[in-house]
Symmetry: C2
Subunit: 134 residues, 2 copies
């Protein structure tokens, strides 16, 4: 499977997220890209939609913002299963976590309800190691 060729706008948005040290909102991205010709929210949202589809970025539901995917394999944007995020309320850092046992447990839970899972969101808000060490 070949890498998806990104359009200019998509590349710009992805790049912005990669260079950010934390999650960004769509409007923050917009502001950062004004010098590159971005004028309207839709330019950002359309790029974000595609990048989400390609699995190159994640959306953090609990804060209406977006982060670049931490995975190294940008070349085959498969499903990499369930991702859990630890989000520091102090510094904004986000760490991406994957866990088989977790996934299995959720699968069982859904199965108990005969529920067909499409997408799973797991977000842990709290304080990271650095910020806890006061």
């Amino acid at each position: 499977m070949a890498a998806q060729p990104l359009t200019k706008n998509q590349a710009l948005v992805l790049d912005t997220l990669h260079h950010a040290d934390g999650p960004l909102s769509a409007y923050t991205i917009l502001d950062k890209l004004r010098d590159h010709g971005f004028r309207a929210p839709l330019q950002v949202y359309r790029a974000l939609d595609k990048l989400l589809e390609f699995g190159l970025i994640h959306r953090l539901e609990s804060m209406n913002s977006f982060v670049a995917c931490a995975h190294p394999d940008h070349h085959h944007h498969h499903d990499h299963g369930v991702t859990a995020f630890a989000i520091c309320e102090d510094c904004g850092q986000v760490t991406e976590m994957h866990d088989e046992a977790m996934e299995e447990r959720l699968s069982v839970l859904a199965g108990n309800q005969h529920f067909k899972t499409e997408k799973t969101t797991i977000e842990i808000r709290g304080h990271c190691q650095n910020c806890t060490a006061e």
Copy 2:
């Protein structure tokens, strides 16, 4: 521990959520309560904030809306640990799930990162049994 005495607005909002057959947005609640004198979003949001604090309702991050807590014990609004939600994209029904193993697994994951958890969001989007049976 005694039941928190709710104010009029809080009771109205909670009642609205209890009688709804799915999650409601703040503005939907507002519309439903116009006949009861509600005029502004803040009246709803303030009530929601308190109800969340009391543990009587939940916020669904992935859809910016709110549901009444499914727990029977409205009388001691303690922390009832982590809650996972299965949200049907077809009919909007939400089922609340609790699971020790899952909680434990999340705790381990956070611990690995030396992350201090404050609040955990787990939301599974998909299709419920009824809606899958086409």
